[in-house]
Symmetry: D2
Subunit: 342 residues, 4 copies
């Protein structure tokens, strides 16, 4: 009955179990351990590409570090106005990059379009202006929308044209991936993604995210940056083990499929009640307009969810998770029907 | 048989159990949860003082954030040359503070003396020179030594005289505390400590350290700094729960007592073999000089430990932990006797 | 015939003469000299208030330092999208503040309105969001507009309500002042300005701007920040002497009055030809729409001015200065008439 | 009679004259002017090498920017403990580099030896340690000593071995050069210097220093860094013109020769009185031990000079300049003789 965010839930039992198992016995610290090695192997299989992986404990750290390794202090990061890096990290990217500038752009559903980025690039080569550094997109977006691989590729083309990298904030990477039904490779490096914040916490881990690079040129730099940012865990195996369990047996995909299905079930139910979602539901987030009085009644009945001012008055966000139960969704729908009638 | 560091070991079973229990059901994210509240209560009892606590995932993050909240970019941090902040954090304090300067000082056993700090302060009020910002000490030190409360108070007096704060890197806080046999209050705020990095990972947690302030003036600032550093965990309860379990029933003290006892047992055994420790063993670290050939033989026999160049050639460090077994110590001693004889 | 900017011109002869005179004989370095003292006295008379003054060599340095002394790294600076700090300093404010965020706002004539700032403040006290730090306005604006004292006071009220400071980028301070016909006090501290970048280079100096604070609380901090930014001149008297000469006998006001008068003469002349300025001409900048072919013809005839894309296609900027001659204006007007006819 | 520093004196008349001449008429701003072009040509002749030159207004800015363009935030700069960058720039290099670490080294006469640097490099490739970034030397040193080209080359070899750059703080470049009697090329790029802070203010300019790179790889980056540091002058020609005049007709060498000769005259005179300099006098700085009472008497007689605690009690520094008069030296010597006798 808690639809506030996918991060209000604990970890998946299998992830927890793996953590307990990895905890036994000594192991080299700082990532020089079998779990960390297995994690890289596993991810290389998943992504069908050589890659460099650096686990960290939060998505904010993943984003900021990934950007800092590629964006110079006098450069700009083009991103959506509603993007997590722009409005939810208290200036983390600015801190880690040494003062790079986030150029926030409009776009429906928190997606940015290639033309929008292109138009925003001014003063290239002009010493008075910040220079193109990176495009950063969120997949799935903060509004629950998903970029098609072709859309990503089009953004990558803009990035390449201006010698930028393309960064993907994949806090809900799995939710987007199963929504698209494509491969992880198609959604990332094949579409031109250079650096990925691979999210796992929201979809079944405790505190484990991974920065993934598809090119090793910046891997060493990133390792030093991670260390000095206080993100190199001494007992790293306990993060790596979470991520390995997350990937094993495609747990991550199953989790995301379930979360997305629950969001669709919610969307369909709400539509039937005359409350169609404000935006297409492509992942595990849903936005709906509901009179304040009805929302309050639901909250008093124990349902929890946030208002979402960015979508105007009386807009609310509902987020489903890997462990959202069908009956919780159905119970909520019944309660909405009742609240609406009241 | 692994004496490399106290961080090669997993978490204590009770901490793990608490983590599993805290994982059940939803909870508000980002620290607005009962475990985080309980943690503050618990620590206030332990320290007998109102305090502000901000859990993070590494000791490096705790140190850097605690310093950044109190030291301006044009100020200096006076610390020992061998201190973790100076040589083991890849410039983390410089990064977090925006370029403050670490003034590294000599001192036996990685301890710094008030006079040494006093002498190092030059150019106070002179616009060309960095200004006094903080004194940072490690308790227990990187050489296994412990500051007496009176020694801490003397350093605090220097700090106050120059309008600095006194920071304590307590990566091995518990080991020092049980070694002294004083109260946590006596070792900290009663002796003038303003900001504490309260270590727990090395002594039984998975990845949980806490920044503790005894004055709330900088607590808000620190919260923003922690967030933008990517150190505000969404599933914060899973860190807080570790720390609560660590404190409950004085597990932390029992763990530290055991680790220290094992270090003493090692020290006594080695002394009997004619290998007295290079420095007094006051906590859970021990340094010994051993011919390289003997050390290699031990390592080939499966014993693991690091060489320690800072103490000269053929110096080695042995670290015991909460779970070091007596028979491992005794087995090691027997093996040393054999290696030495060979 | 050069209307590109007021900074294409050298210094006023009187400023130059003062520099030559100040150059004679030895003097204490780093600002401990009679010229620097006289400068403070002079400014205190001009502003009718106790103040702290720190000369620097560029307006960018003045802006960035003034902001850095008041805005924390996790805070925001509310400014116009077209403001110099946002688009013309290559991320200087982000660099000096340690990564504060510039929130760029719309507004006619590069002016921002109190309501616009108020609306842009979101997430106050919310740890995920950057916090209010400063409002920064440019007087005269980058579009040649001038804030009325009452407008400044209204912005100051917003600033105070959110515990921000109000910063004024006065690169063209004198031009705005004589345009308003009010006192320097009325345009600054009486209207709530806390920190001022007092521009002089564009209006007759060689390389001399001054940061002015009307409250001494941050003066020491600013002195350290200026030093470590490499902006504390050893031969400071040579900057102070420029500024003293600039103020003496109200040279600065006479210079600005002339520049403004030349801009008005241009505006009136262009209006008569059917080319009314795109924005009210309140200081020494004028924007006009002119077919590219006519503009090229003028440029080939030796007239120099920049195109101004922010105002759409075929927009051009003309800037007058303290030494713009009437006949140059009249010659230009004649040439425009001819070019337009062609 | 002012021996405090070479920066207590104004500019050389020829430099001033050139400034006045350059001031006439309009010129493109920000360095796109004939004086800036001429400056580069002139320096390329002087250094017999293609180079990139970026004028700034202080030596601190030159040093910090030159280092920032080459040293990553997680790297170290090896320098002498007494170096200007370490003790006289209020943490400027740390600020500009984003928190790089200065490793301060001992060495006679403020010179560092290759072995000293080599020994100080620890933890290369170890993620916990800051990594080698640059060696920075001052020529002439803060103690008036001069590096021989062979000594510079030996330091460059260490730099190259560890993939560092070699930076030279040439605040007193000319004084060192005429002391050695070699070419500018021999003292810089031929000996392996990569980046040079070419000082001019102390030796006859008003406020003009130049960053010189002998390789263009970082020139663009440096231009952006200079701009965002507020060091790109709008009326750049007025800095470039100073530097051109400084170089023309070898004024800089004549000035330095005179300053050095005056220092030698002082040294010889003092030696005759039984006050031999504490360090060899190789440039224009001289250190002498003199009872406090004698020093006070001299100061009361109008002679000005600083005490120099780094050389122990009763140590004083005397600095000569391009305009120090022989009779001033002789008068001072007579006064010392008298003060000593008293």
């Amino acid at each position: 009955m808690d639809f506030r965010s996918d991060n209000v839930h604990g970890a998946h039992p299998k992830v927890l179990q793996a953590l307990v198992e990895a905890n036994a016995g000594p192991a080299s610290s700082y990532g020089d351990d079998p779990w960390s090695e297995r994690l890289r192997d596993k991810l290389q299989q998943v992504f069908e590409h050589e890659l460099w992986v650096l686990p960290v404990t939060t998505g904010s750290a993943a984003n900021s570090l990934a950007l800092a390794a590629h964006v110079q202090p006098w450069q700009a990061v083009y991103c959506h106005h509603e993007s997590h890096i722009n409005v939810d990290e208290c200036g983390g990217p600015e801190f880690f990059t040494g003062g790079a500038k986030l150029i926030d752009l409009p776009g429906e559903g928190a997606k940015i379009a290639p033309e929008t980025v292109e138009r925003a690039i001014v003063g290239e080569g002009f010493v008075h202006a910040v220079q193109p550094g990176a495009i950063s997109i969120t997949q799935a977006t903060e509004m629950g929308r998903v970029y098609q691989p072709a859309e990503i590729a089009a953004l990558s083309a803009v990035a390449k044209r201006h010698k930028m990298i393309l960064h993907m904030d994949g806090a809900r990477f799995a939710n987007a991936l199963v929504s698209l039904g494509c491969t992880a490779a198609e959604m990332t490096w094949k579409a031109g993604v250079d650096a990925l914040s691979f999210g796992a916490t929201k979809n079944g881990c405790l505190m484990a995210e991974a920065i993934i690079l598809f090119d090793g040129a910046k891997a060493d730099e990133l390792a030093y940056r991670r260390k000095r940012a206080g993100q190199l865990l001494s007992k790293m195996r306990l993060a790596s083990a979470q991520l390995v369990a997350y990937l094993e047996g495609d747990l991550w995909l199953a989790n995301a499929r379930h979360a997305n299905a629950m969001a669709r079930r919610l969307a369909e139910g709400l539509s039937r009640i005359g409350l169609p979602p404000l935006l297409p539901v492509e992942a595990n987030e849903l936005f709906v307009r509901l009179p304040k009085v009805a929302a309050k009644a639901l909250q008093e009945a124990g349902y929890r969810f946030y208002d979402w001012a960015a979508l105007g008055p009386d807009a609310w966000r509902l987020v489903t998770a890997f462990n959202t139960e069908e009956r919780a969704v159905d119970g909520f729908l019944a309660a909405v029907r009742q609240a609406k009638a009241a």
